[in-house]
Amino acid sequence: MALLEIKNVSRRFGDFTAVDDVSFTVESGEFFTLLGPSGCGKTTLLRMIAGFDLPDSGAIVLDGVDLRDTPAEQRPIHTVFQSYALFPHMTVAQNIAFPLRMAGKADDEVRTRVREAVAQVKLDKLEQRYPHELSGGQKQRVALARGLVNRPRLLLLDEPLGALDAKLREQMQIELIRLQRGVGVTFVFVTHSQAEALALSHRIAVMNHGVIEQMDEPDKLYGFPKNRFVADFIGNVNMHEATVAATGGTLTLELGTLGRIAAPSREGVKAGTGGVFVIRPEQVSIRAAAEASPDPNQFEGVVNDFLYIGDVTTYIVDLPDGKRFEALLPNSAPGRAKFFEVGDHVRLSWKAEAGAFLDA
């Protein structure tokens, strides 16, 4: 049996439907992520799971028990808030001890468990500090320790890394994974950052306008987006209008005035169907125009601009009909990587099994 079941949950605020008939399940021990832009309903959903809000219809079921009549304080579910929400008048140790005290644990046990939790998040020697004496990363650790110390069935995390700087965020991501595997608690994580979701999750539900657009493992989500929104929201993508010219082993697409390309076939599409062709920049090869490519899909173009990131360079290439493609070139060659300059003539190419044809 799944640990958490969300069954046809809806929540409306006046005319606005924040969550629209959403269903999914979370397995025990899973790191599950709700990903989406702000206003997509992910936080509303999280608040209903925590018990701060109730669904207008549908059910939230934990361990087979409908939570409708269980108030927040009685749910074996704890939350790590975006603002951390540490109690400012309590020390680190008192903050972490709070859920244990509320659960009526004996003093001895509270002391032992707090000591373990403090060690787990590497906060030793800071137990007697107050929240205002801690850095952002340290507050984050206290919030995590406080949420985990009483071993909840489920830990909800509401954009917990949002307030940290990039370097620290990466470090905390690694620690979050380590911590989640170590304690074996099921995490439901809410974020608007696709990079964070991909790096952390076992499974991701991509939400938009109150519905789940696609739910899958990170590599499947990135590799096989089901629709435009998901393709665009997760990672970077080249996206162009396309019409199906012929079906068969591979799909033949008419890419406007650019010409025909071969793309992976898809069930249920007929010749004449309109949609979009999407392909990731790293699937597009770039070489000098004079060099030949073995790929079936190839076009010559001119470098319009490039972004040097360090490990990779993204080239923005204009094709003859005005379409613009991004191509990623890893700077993995020893010494100075091969560069193209703005204005260089280049050849873009990709394999027939790269990219996807999606509904418009």
Binding site: H78, T79, A85, F98, M102
Partner: protein, 259 residues
């Protein structure tokens, strides 16, 4: 920035206007003369006389009792009102709670008098009616201070308490109350000072049997402004000042007029 001498002079005049009368009262309370006219010499006689004056002591005891009970009641009710105003964001609630603060005292006094007499009868005017009256006008002050204390707080702190297993009562006792405590104490001190020197509302609601310190002073100066009045005024001033300083120390934002 250079300040104009005119501005200096104007400010000085304003402060002089506010404080010179108070200083005069204090100085003459130590003057060895029955007349508030010229400085004769230093004495503590008036204070000795004051503490031998049974009527005055009785009035002071009344005032203290009223102030303690009324401020305690107003603190409890005002704190609840402040929290409610913060939580429910209604427009009616602040209006209802704060109106007595803005209402002219004479209006409040008269309306309370009419209320007590018409509902409970003429004999009802007593220590109790004064306490009720004082509680009424102090609630608003406490509520404002408590609400301003809550206004800047991260709402998720209270949700976190619930989330981590605290019942609503535990959340209030262990999280909300400690966090608003400076506001509560400042409100209590404010209520105490307002109550102890209130004249107008007390005058209407006290009836004949309950002299308070301000009423007693008023009775005395109807005959003459004796140095004894100066002495009791000085003590009252000292008490009020202490309370205000304490309130400012406990909740600095209150005196700075934030919120």
């Amino acid at each position: 920035m250079r300040r104009s001498p005119l501005l200096w002079a104007a400010s000085l005049a304003v402060y002089a206007f506010l404080y010179v009368p108070l200083v005069v009262v204090v100085v003459f309370s130590f003057n060895d003369s029955k007349l508030n006219a010229e400085w004769v010499g230093f004495t503590l006689d008036w204070y000795h006389k004051l503490f031998a004056n049974a009527e005055m002591l009785h009035a002071a005891a009344n005032s203290l009792l009223i102030a303690v009970v009324a401020s305690a009641l107003a603190t409890v009710l005002g704190t609840m009102a402040g929290i409610a105003m913060h939580r429910f964001k209604s427009r009616l609630l602040p209006f209802m709670t704060l109106t007595p603060v803005a209402m002219p005292e004479i209006l409040l006094g008269v309306s309370l008098l009419i209320f007590f007499i018409s509902v409970f009868g003429e004999e009802s005017l007593s220590l109790l009616t004064v306490i009720i009256a004082h509680t009424t006008f102090c609630i608003g002050f406490v509520a404002i201070i408590v609400r301003s204390r809550l206004a800047g707080m991260d709402e998720s702190i209270f949700e976190a308490a619930r989330d981590l297993g605290a019942t609503p009562w535990q959340t209030f006792r262990l999280v909300t109350l400690p966090l608003i405590m400076p506001g509560v104490v400042a409100g209590a001190l404010m209520a105490f000072t307002l109550s102890i020197d209130d004249f107008v509302i007390t005058f209407f609601t006290a009836g004949a049997g309950v002299p308070t310190l301000p009423l007693q002073i008023y009775t005395m100066i109807k005959i003459a402004v004796t140095p004894e009045v100066n002495a009791v005024s000085t003590l009252l001033m000292l008490l009020t000042l202490t309370m205000i300083v304490l309130a400012g120390k406990i909740a600095p934002d209150v005196l700075r007029g934030k919120g």
